[in-house]
């Protein structure tokens, strides 16, 4: 029974991996292409002034927008690169954690038969609202 379970589990694992690889890898490659074009820099420029509503400096847009395209690791590299302070890191971290890897996770949402528009707006709105709340708290403290 145990050997049988391991065999079936292994096979299911392979199938499951293949399903996920088919979704994730193409999007991943697309993101790498975007990374090397001026698209990201343009969006960062647009968002820089907006960061004020979270009581954050303009350069905080760099890790936030980076995390839309890449993942938390890319965002952390960006946080270090722009040099944010303790309170600012907490605010931007919460926003990044609520809305990151938007494209890869949208592909997963679609695979599950759910609405990409609904879930992407959900994450974006959640990040903005929590960013404002924690920005206010951090701004006062």
């Amino acid at each position: 029974m145990l050997v049988g379970a391991v065999k079936i589990g292994f096979k299911k694992g392979l199938i499951c991996c293949w399903t996920l690889i088919k979704i994730i890898v193409p999007v991943y490659v697309l993101i790498i292409v975007i990374k090397h074009t001026p698209i990201m820099g343009f969006i960062i420029g647009v968002f820089s002034p907006v960061m004020r509503i979270f009581y954050l400096p303009g350069q905080a847009a760099v890790p936030w927008i980076t995390s839309f395209f890449l993942d938390e690791y890319g965002a952390i590299a960006a946080i270090k690169a722009v040099g944010l302070s303790g309170k600012d890191i907490t605010i931007i971290a919460i926003m990044i954690i609520l809305a990151h890897s938007l494209f890869i996770e949208a592909a997963i949402i679609k695979k599950l038969g759910l609405s990409i528009i609904f879930f992407t707006s959900y994450r974006f709105i959640a990040a903005v609202i929590m960013g404002i709340i924690f920005g206010l708290v951090g701004g006062v403290v």
Binding site: G13, C16, Y28, A93, L98, I108
Partner: protein, 155 residues
């Protein structure tokens, strides 16, 4: 230009291999574990005991494993477990919707909390902030779905 294209190709291949590797080393052992736990009826016993949690979120007790995996390990792995659970049990679309409402703000808590802790963010603040989104939103849609079902029953 040629240099950029070369970089893109190199990064794509190396990165994709990395993605495939990290998926495989997590998912294959997880699926073996789930299979063993299913055959020894461990999942059934566990999900019966934790029914109060799944009931609270308004989802079927069979979503326990996708919830746990998504919450602890990460959303792509959780989605894999949902796809797998869909075959094993009769998960409804509402179940999957509510599970994702919860997992989208609250996933991969171990890894994410740790990597942000390293750069000086208090993991407790992160977890509270994420639950503060995940629980109210899931409960809101649980109510909406219940309302809709009531109306359908009446009609």
């Amino acid at each position: 230009m040629a240099e950029i294209i070369l970089t893109i190709i190199k990064e794509s291949i190396l990165g994709s291999l990395g993605v495939i590797k990290s998926l495989a080393i997590v998912i294959i052992p997880l699926m073996i574990l789930i299979q063993i736990m299913t055959e020894y009826k461990l999942i059934e016993r566990l999900s019966n005991k934790t029914k109060f949690i799944t009931d609270f979120l308004g989802v079927s007790k069979d979503t326990l494993i996708p919830l746990l995996i998504g919450m602890l390990v990460g959303i792509s792995y959780g989605a894999g477990a949902i796809i797998d659970a869909k075959d094993r049990y009769d998960l409804s679309n509402n179940d999957i919707f509510l599970v994702m409402c919860f997992l989208v703000p609250f996933h991969g808590i171990i890894e994410i909390s740790l990597i942000f802790w390293v750069i000086g963010v208090n993991p407790v603040i992160i977890i509270i902030a994420r639950l503060f989104v995940a629980i109210p939103v899931t409960l809101f849609f649980k109510k909406q779905i219940a309302k809709k079902e009531m109306q359908e029953l009446k009609a």
